[in-house]
Structure formats: structure tokens, C-alpha cells
Symmetry: C3
Subunit: 355 residues, 3 copies
């Protein structure tokens, strides 16, 4: 039983990944073939020919049609079959499902569920990813673990101290208590940890040039199921925002994750790091990309191990949760609510989409 | 649940594969050990010692007996135990099942089912494989896919255009309609595609020396479950057989496949190419062997992918079939009939065997 | 369903394997983390943090506490949690199970079952392993087979002739009948094979220097489930023990196996060879270590194959057992008795432990 809601928006790819070539990716157990038309639109079809289910991603793109690599069934960007081998008549049922796509903030969002319900959920925003005021580095690591383990991981940053020591972890992260808030209506979870006098980990020391102790604020904003924002504020100790809210002397890093289930036991772990300083400094870009990728891979190694443990548990295992898990537990609750809503009949009055 | 009938003849090996050495091969889920006696007969026993089921194929052949490599239980070519360790008395039940073997047309056929029912089915013939009027190249590729996917593949050659372009495929194959006939009594399926003005693919251009367009006739004769014959006639366009049926100016290639299930998800894909021209030309032999092996491996790659797709389908998937699938659908029907007959009680009056 | 009794003693490791470092090993399906305290005691805890079940073996040992590598939960050698991240209060239920350990005869024995039942079974002795009168070589090979296949293997040494020819096997082993006795009260199985005029296999010829034929006595003593002792006496043919029981002219080799289930399909195959001659001869030590390891690996290869066969058997397979299997069948019976006793309620009157 999948533990995700199909009736939600998920990040399928970075915009830059999709060109006029066939691209295969499985999202929420659904095999997709994606490509960008000559007109610039992103198309997502089920990656199965209707005839003998050969993967269309192993086929050929001719103009804006896909010609199946097995027997030549030809589909347009709506999934409608235009040609079949050895006969003129095209069967009426020869149609490959097409999925709704929205491109926004440099991300390709897909609606895997019922097409007529895609206005039931808003697509959350991450404007830093596509703004001239920020420089962004990014990557995607395949995770052989269920997406809930990554949600757990990101909602509780106390693990930075132990798993990411020498990169982004310092003792203060695990020591400092968190505050957690849940906006039940909007379905957003906020977890904050403000360290006002902390060691500066290499990730920030090298990128900002700060040499002493820092005020380090971590403000998480999780939009289940897919988008995770970590607003990170770094400044020398004592350097607070002005009373009017301006904060010109601090360094701001927007760490963004898109958490997209691939299968019940694997996840696409998209990570992005946007900064509002040293915008043109390639050394800082390279350093942050390399350093953050190392950190993500440390998580991947740990979560891959946890997946085998969770999968192999003999019976229903009893975890122990403490204060640091408040955000993660809230996330589980909201994800469950989304699943139940997704499986239920469509809502009579739909929410307003951002599109 | 296996989808094959045990009470049918299957090709276990090429005759040339079996010598006075122990040879392991699994046929229809049944592990066999094969060897050729000093007298020249092929023996097939279950590949399990009766004592602790050690594979006999990992044992030693001493004269015409197998001595188990674990504790020395010794078996003759009927599977009868002749010796056991530490005692003189041989238990009466110490007997390894032996399977009925027929060698014919350079193939080793085995009857996996009930030994007393082996006359219920005829062994189909492929005389070109062992005739001085033909030169044969052959091979066997392991396929990690259920045998039905290979049957589907071979019964619908329109895929040559898309999967084997540049080898045996040209546009005319997919464009030209087929005619299909089923001999219900004999249980044979005939699929024909006569292209009277077609491009000559490299496979035939290089081997026959024809430089222009050709008449290309494909006459399939499938004897379920195992033997597939493709009578291929190649001649310059307009060059038809004489009224009396002689056809001396054409090139004839007999493409033969033996489709033998190994397990529910793997198949022995035996392929043979017999020709009635350039009999002693080693270059043509090498070219056809290399070219056909490449084509078979293209199928193997595609079918291995399809197997993972079919195996992973969430529910009963609905395929779409069109005219080109008439032969394949008939094959499924005859295979199902064979399974049901094989599982039913033996027929009171048996068919005449070719043996 | 595991086929072992949890309420028995098993060898978890050699004493020499456990130092002041975290060491992971799964015993009877139970993942353990082991280490030796600064005081010299061996500790065994369940290899799972109570919080999010991260393996403690991938964590850090600080003095005699384990600090979880994910979020820093800290445990003492009893499994009691001493610290948790972000808060002072330690939840009362934060405790990792600790397992009872006894070190004896250079072996680390663990009680996997109910802690209050560890006096229901005696730990059998193997004093040669830790005696100045013997020199010992040893090793451990991972076996991808259920432990019962190794019990079968070791209780019936007639396989030495076929699987270990050229190492420890000669024709006489398979030819010579055995005698088997079972001490039902103590739960010990004795299998003896006295060959009074046998070829001397390389294993003994090279290590003892005997060049002619030998008297070779094999006296097996199996203490289910874990400890297997083979008392091997080697002497020139005709050279018998004195009437008073002294046996100074013979060579004695104590071959010891500890058979510890890892999972239902894998086993820790601990092997030890103790000798009472050439005590300081490094060449003999090296030879015996290398030769016995080769023999063990021959078994591993064979049993790994058998595991795939046994696991893949279609239905309940009927083995054939003969005289040589008397010891193995008795072992199966005693192991079954232990399982049933282990699952039953604890005995009201406990046996006396050797501890």
C-alpha cells in the first residue's frame, strides 16, 4: 500500500532537466516519460505503449510525437495515438494517459492523481530558485528509502550535530530546543531553532567568510508532501535584524528540498541551496554544491540503512519520540490527512490554484 | 503458477552441446543433468541426489554413472542407485527420475511431463538443421523474461522495422498486412507477409549479394509450445517461383527458434539460421551468425525490460491488440489449450509419435 | 518462522574479536552491537536506537557509552539511556535491550532469549581452545545457508571422501560404518567412526609427519544447538592407546565448530583446530589453518548451493536417509525438542549453570 496521496503536486524534475529528448522518471509508482515540445511545453505521459506496454522512454521522438520503439505506435503530446503498424484504422481506445504539468520556480510539478482534481491543492512557492537576487546550486540524489524517512530526517535537524559534524553540524544544534507550529488550514508546519551564540560550521564559515561565533537561525517551513524550505539566517553573534525587519548585514541561505516518492521504498531527493550573497563567486558556488552534496549523501547512506531496518522489522515496532520530533510527528499527521482526503471523493468546492 | 504445459516436447539443448560431461540446464522449472553415454545416447536425470538433493551436475561422471559429489550416491543412466556410502544395502526408493529424450534434427528434445504420456504429442520437424543442402549457424541467448513474451515477439514481425532497423527491419515490414491461419487439428499457426517490392535489409543484402529491391516473403509456422519456423524467401523484385513450384533463383533462409521455458521468468532462446546458398562461404556464415545474434540480443534487451514491467503491473493490465496480433493471440489460445489438456487426465487414444 | 530456539546459548564471537570498538553481528535474527568495556567485560546490546532505530554499531563509543550516530541518544552498558538531544528529561522507556554474555574457553557466548531463563541450559565446554597444552588455529566463514544444513554436514563425515578428497577425505571414511549414541538427558549426540587401517590424508600427513597408513578415529560429540566437537586421534596403524588409557604416541586434534544461526538463511560458521603436538611449529599452524579453511570453504560452496535448492523446493520434499544419517536425524530431533522447550513456559526448577 503506497503511503502517499496521489492527489497532490510533486516535483517531477528540474526545468533544466527536460529538453527535446525523452526522459524517464517514476513518480509515486507511476512510470512517466517527459519531454519538452518544440513550443517549449513540458509533456508527461505514462511510460507505457497501449499495445504491449513497451516503455515509450526507450522510443524515438519525431517532432512532437513519440514513436514506440517496439512496433511503431505513434502518440501526440496529449497521448492520442496517431498511427499503428499494418493498418489505417486507429482504435478509439488507443490513448496513453497524460499528466497535468506546471512549471514554476525552475521546477516541473506534476499532478499524478485524478486530472479533474488538480485544483484541490496549491503548488507552494520557492521564488528564490528563479530570482536574480539569489544564486542557486542544486542536485538530486536517488534515495533507496521511503520518503517518510527523509521527511523525518529534515524535520529534525538535531541530527546535523551527529551525522553532519564537520560540515553543517555543531553541538549547539542538538542542544538548542525547537519551537513548532502547525497551520492546520494551510497545511504547513513551522519548526524554528534560533541559536544566538553558536560555533560556525565549515559550510557557513567558508561561504560567508565569518571567522567567529554566529547567530544561526533555522526556520523550517514544510509544505507536505513535497516542498521543504529551510530559511537559514547567519550573522555574527549579536547582529540582529533591525526593528523595521530589514536584515542587510546577515547572510541568508534558502535550503530547499523537494521530496518526491519514486516507489514505496525509494525517493527522489532534490536539493537546492540559494544564497543572497557572493552571487557571482564561483568558488562559493562550487564549495556549497560540493559540501551540500556530501551532506545529502551522508543522509542517503543513513536512510538507506534505516530503510532495510524498517522494512525488516518483525512486528509493528514501537518508536520513542521526544520533543525534537514534534515537527516530524505533525508531518506524519498532515500526510495521513492528505492521503485520506486524496482517497475520498473530490471536494465539492475546490481551492484556488496558483496557476 | 507455471503457464506452460509439462506434457509437451521441449528442446533441452543442441545435440552438439551434450558430450560425455555433466551438463546442467533447467527446463520448465525442472533442474536437469544431461550427459551422453559412451554408447552415444543422451541421458537426462533430475539434477538432485535422492539423499540430500545435492545437484548431480556438480558431481562426477565415472563411465556411464554419476557419483554424487557430496556423499557418493551412485546412479546409472536410468536414475537407479547403484551404491550408497557406508552400507551394502541400497534402499529400494533410491531412484532419481529420468526423462524421455529424443534426438532429432540436431536438437535434443525432452519430455518433462508424465513419462507414459510422451506419445500424446508429436515432435515437429526442422530438417534443414541437419541437412547437407543447408548451412546452419546457431546460438542460444538466456532471456530473463517469460516465454510468452518471446512468442508474442516472434509471431508479430512488424517489430523488425522499429527494433531491428539497420539489421533485418525496413519500413515495408510494419506497413504490409499479414494473413493468419490456424490449423486447429494439428495445432499449428501460420502467419504470412509477402512483400513484393521492398528494400533489402543488410542481413540479406550482405549474405545474398542482391543490390536492389527485393521480393521478401515471410512465412511463419509456429508449432506451440516450442518450435518456431520462419520460411524466408528473398529474390529480386518480380522474380517469382515457377508455375511448377520450383524456385531455383530465390534465396531461402530457414530461421528457426526453439522457445524453451527455463523458469516462470526466464527462457532459453535458441536461434538457428539455415540457408540454401553460399553453403561453404565462411564469411557469409560469420556474417549471418554475428548479425542474427545482434538481432536476438536486441530482442533480449527489450523483452527483459518488458518482463520487469509485466511482473510489476499493479493490477490486471488491459493490452490493446490490433490486426498484427492475430497470430500472437492465436498462439496464446493454443498454449492455453495445451496447458488444460496437459493438466487433464491422459487421453485414452494416443496420437502417433514421430519416433 | 525461525527454526532455532532463542532460549539457548550461542557463540556470538571469538573473545579476540571484541575490543573497545563497536562490533555488529546478527545472532538468531537479532542484530547485536558488541564491545568490550574499559574494565574488560563484553557488552551486547540490541543494535537499534530506541528513537528511530538507527544501528548503534554505526555510532561512536565514548568511554563505556554509545552515542547514537543519528541524533546522539547515549546509552550505558546496561542499555540505559543517559542523554537525549534538546532536553534534560530522559524518557523512562528509553532503554535498549541488553543480552547476557559469558566468556569461556576463548568464546563469547550470548543468551538471546528471555534473560531470566539463561540458567535453563548449560554452556558446553571446549577447554582445548584456551589451554597451554594445545595450539589453536581458527577462523569464521559466513555461510549463506540455514544452520541445519551445516549440522547435517558435520554430523555425517562420509562427505569428506567426496567433497574434501585431497584434503581430509580418503575412501575409508565413506566406507567405514558409524556408531551413534544419544544421551537424551544431557542432550548430547555421539557419532564414532574408527578406521584402524586407513590412508593418511594430506591434512594429517603434513602436520604429523606420518608417512604410512594410519589408525584414524573420529569421535563426534555434538551439543545442540551450537557446539560441535570432533575428537580426532591419528596414529600409525596398530598403535593403540595403552590399557590405562594413556595415549602418548598418538596425535590428537580437537576440531571444534560453533554453529550460530545469523538469519533463517545464513549462519556463522566458526571453525577451530586445536592440536597437542608441534605446539610451537608455525609451519604446522599455517598449514592447518590454510588447509582447514579450504575445507570449510568447500562446505560453504556446497551448502550455499543446497540452500538455494531447499529454499526453492516446490513442495515438501522427501529426502532419503540411510545409516550414515543416524546422527543427523538425532540432531534434528533434539533441536526440535529444544525449540519446543524454548517456546514453552519456563521450567519451574532450573538446571545448574556452569557459570
Amino acid at each position: 500500500m503506497p503511503t502517499w496521496s496521489r492527489n497532490q503536486w510533486y516535483v517531477a524534475a528540474y526545468s533544466a532537466e527536460i529538453s527535446h529528448e525523452l526522459f524517464a522518471r517514476t513518480i509515486c509508482g507511476e512510470p512517466l516519460v517527459l519531454y519538452r515540445t518544440t513550443g517549449g511545453d513540458v509533456v508527461a505521459l505514462e511510460d507505457r505503449c497501449v499495445h504491449r506496454r513497451y516503455p515509450l522512454s526507450k522510443s524515438h521522438l519525431i517532432d512532437d510525437t513519440i514513436v514506440c520503439g517496439y512496433h511503431g505506435f505513434t502518440y501526440d503530446q496529449c497521448g492520442t495515438c496517431l498511427a499503428a503498424p499494418g493498418q489505417k484504422r486507429i482504435p478509439r481506445t488507443a490513448r496513453v494517459p497524460a499528466f497535468t504539468i506546471v512549471e514554476q520556480d525552475s521546477l516541473v510539478w506534476v499532478w499524478i492523481g485524478d486530472n479533474d482534481r488538480s485544483d484541490e491543492a496549491l503548488i507552494p512557492r520557492a521564488p528564490w530558485l528563479d530570482s536574480p537576487e539569489y544564486t542557486v546550486v542544486r542536485g538530486m540524489e536517488p534515495l533507496q528509502a521511503r520518503y517518510e524517512l527523509l521527511v523525518d530526517n529534515l524535520l529534525d535537524l538535531s541530527h546535523e550535530t551527529y551525522l553532519h559534524g564537520g560540515y553543517i553540524g555543531t553541538p549547539e544544534v542538538a542542544q538548542t530546543p525547537i519551537t513548532t507550529e502547525v497551520d492546520e488550514d494551510a497545511g504547513v508546519i513551522y519548526v524554528s531553532r534560533h541559536m544566538d551564540d553558536a560555533a560556525c560550521p565549515p559550510f557557513y564559515a567558508e561561504s560567508t567568510g565569518i571567522t567567529g561565533r554566529i547567530a544561526r537561525w533555522q526556520d523550517i517551513e514544510y509544505h507536505p508532501p513535497c516542498l521543504y524550505l529551510l530559511h537559514s539566517r547567519i550573522a555574527p553573534t549579536g547582529d540582529l535584524p533591525a526593528d523595521d525587519g530589514t536584515d542587510d548585514h546577515a547572510f541568508h541561505v534558502e535550503v530547499v528540498y523537494a521530496i518526491t516518492p519514486e516507489t514505496e521504498h525509494s525517493t527522489h531527493d532534490f536539493w537546492m541551496v540559494a544564497r543572497d550573497f557572493a552571487l557571482a563567486d564561483q568558488h562559493v558556488s562550487d564549495f556549497l554544491a560540493e559540501n551540500n552534496r556530501t551532506v545529502v549523501l551522508q543522509d542517503v547512506v543513513a536512510l538507506d540503512v534505516l530503510e532495510t531496518i524498517v522494512e525488516g522489522e518483525k512486528e509493528h515496532y514501537q518508536e520513542l519520540s521526544i520533543n525534537i520530533d514534534t515537527g516530524g510527528l505533525a508531518a506524519r499527521r498532515l500526510l495521513k490527512r492528505q492521503r485520506e482526503a486524496g482517497e475520498a471523493a473530490p471536494e465539492p468546492t475546490a481551492a484556488t490554484s496558483t496557476r
